[in-house]
Symmetry: C2
Subunit: 128 residues, 2 copies
Amino acid sequence: MNIGEVSKNTGLPAKTIRYYEDIGFVTPARGDNGYRSFSEKDQHKLVFLGRARGLGFSIEDCRTLMALYEDQGRASADVKRVAQKNLSEIDRKIADLQAMRGTLSHLVANCAGDGRPDCPILEDLGRA
Amino acid sequence: MNIGEVSKNTGLPAKTIRYYEDIGFVTPARGDNGYRSFSEKDQHKLVFLGRARGLGFSIEDCRTLMALYEDQGRASADVKRVAQKNLSEIDRKIADLQAMRGTLSHLVANCAGDGRPDCPILEDLGRA
DNA sequence: CTTGACCCTCCCGTGACTGGAACCTTTATG
DNA sequence: CATAAAGGTTCCAGTCACGGGAGGGTCAAG
């Protein structure tokens, strides 16, 4: 398969797939014309990667998960640990964003939003 | 004031303050020795910037907010618009993370996390 | 034979810094 | 007074995960 078809099948942009090759995630064969020639397995790995990335795993996490995926004798505890670490990072990000959201929405609520120059948002930001 | 003191007062790393000078946010005077010499106003701007960044405003947003802050004739509606745009971006990010969190926590909950190789997390990631 | 779709590599840019090297100035101490 | 530590300076490179675009080769259809 050429890169275009793989891109269509996996939903990953061709640029991204080339990038994943650069960083050693897949190593597609090459045809005489220099074109990448992807196997089913390559494509499968890319799907895996796309899904894991979509769930917020970092590339390095993906490397770990992929190694575990390919290791038939792995312990599911190892996978679970990586996933839980990611989960708590997601929780932390959500908490941070919610804190931001709280402060900001409070400020927005108190701002008249009319033509007058008084603005509690700016006042708050400028407070030392 | 030297950069070190400003850093202590504002909580921003010296590196960051130099960066903010690079991108034209502050233009501290220079002493004969070449050291930056910050005024109270410079410091105040940096505090403003630090707080706005902490609320998730981008540098470009901060530029807008700063201009509005320094413009005595501004309309608070302009500020509110920037803040609301930012607020809806935060909401979107929270929603994305919560969707991730939902899928991932479901997977984690279904994973035994023991020494056996069966792992629903990997199974799911590998599904085409 | 040409057109257009597809593919290739290579390099630069993103946002918002952070780290480090190499060097200079000020301040504290023996 | 010499020296060492602390703090300042510039500049270059790296981060993360790609995206844009130049400049060119290849392939299938009409």
